[in-house]
């Protein structure tokens, strides 16, 4: 039977500590590679640019005279459905001095509604 002496127990304990700290550091580094994933996925999923662009074009339609604004409204609705599979519906009308705009946007994941008016 081997004779054990307990002279170097502190050295062995320190060795264990060092290797365990390496182990936990490795786990932390391992997690860091997936940090951007959720962020990037949610950024891609959220149609920020679509909504901004739709808002902008709907704002532009305010200046379009009567017969053409009906055509443009149908263009936006039909093309949104066809090319972006998103439901876009809006209406703008003037009552007295105020113009009212209602925007509805839904691409199946994100829904956005806006209702505003100006004088």
């Amino acid at each position: 039977m081997a004779r054990l002496n307990d002279d170097a127990q502190w050295i062995i304990l320190m060795g264990f500590l060092v290797s365990f700290s390496f182990f936990f550091l490795a786990i932390i580094i391992n997690q860091s590679t997936v940090v951007g994933q959720t962020t990037a996925e949610s950024v891609i999923e959220f149609p920020k640019n679509d909504i901004r662009d739709t808002r902008q074009v709907i704002g532009e339609t305010v200046n379009i005279p009567y017969p053409d604004n009906i055509t443009v409204q149908k263009d936006i609705t039909v093309l949104s459905m066809n090319r972006k599979s998103s439901v876009v519906d809006y209406s703008n009308f003037t009552a007295g001095n105020a113009t009212y705009i209602k925007i509805h946007y839904n691409n199946g994941v994100t829904e956005y509604n806006e209702n505003w008016s100006y004088l």
Partner: protein
């Protein structure tokens, strides 16, 4: 003679060796893992870049002038044979590929410098039969099908009566909304 004096030292040596190997494996492996997140991040950046470039092109300097995107679109509608449109190509490539150092030679076919490619088209609704049709605007290289592309879109309102070719199924001057779509990919 065979004796059993050193067995515990051998076992200890094995245990230490295994711990070291496992630690080294985890440390080396941890930094070189490619997750799906990496492709998502570059997709997100490419999409944001394309959207920004289209927004810049679609912004007019003053209310009296048309934006570069709109004037290019009007030109393409009038001259379908001008595809791929050189103006759109130059402006868009310039906006998406600006970087420091040596300028990129876009026209050199066998250029070894990598840059972001695009394929742009516009879609409009035909007034007479309600059909949706896409027309090309410009491209930097033909799509082969193997590209990993992202899409950026921009609405443009065009006030146009086409002289030479019917615009969205009509020859009379009128306001129409068309959707400009750009596919971007890294070479």
């Amino acid at each position: 003679m065979v004796n059993t004096d050193g067995q515990l030292y051998t076992i200890e040596g094995f245990a230490a060796g295994l711990i070291m190997l496992m630690t080294a494996y985890l440390v080396v492996n941890a930094t070189s893992v490619y997750t799906a997140g990496d492709t998502h991040i570059s997709d997100m950046q490419l999409e944001a870049l394309g959207s920004d470039a289209l927004t810049m092109m679609g912004t007019n300097v003053s209310l009296l002038t048309t934006s570069p995107l709109e004037s290019t679109l009007e030109y393409v509608i009038d001259n379908p044979s001008s595809v791929p449109n050189a103006t759109f190509k130059a402006v868009f490539l310039n906006l998406t590929n600006h970087r420091t150092g040596k300028p990129i030679d876009y026209n050199k076919i066998d250029s070894t410098m990598d840059y972001i490619h695009f394929n742009a088209s516009y879609t409009c609704r035909d007034l007479t039969n309600n059909n949706i049709t896409s027309y090309p605007i410009s491209y930097s290289r033909n799509l082969t099908g193997g590209e990993h592309t992202v899409r950026a879109t921009k609405w443009v309102i065009v006030n146009k009566g086409s002289v030479t070719a019917p615009f969205c199924g009509s020859t009379t001057k009128q306001y129409r909304a068309v959707l400009v779509e750009v596919l971007l990919w890294r070479d």
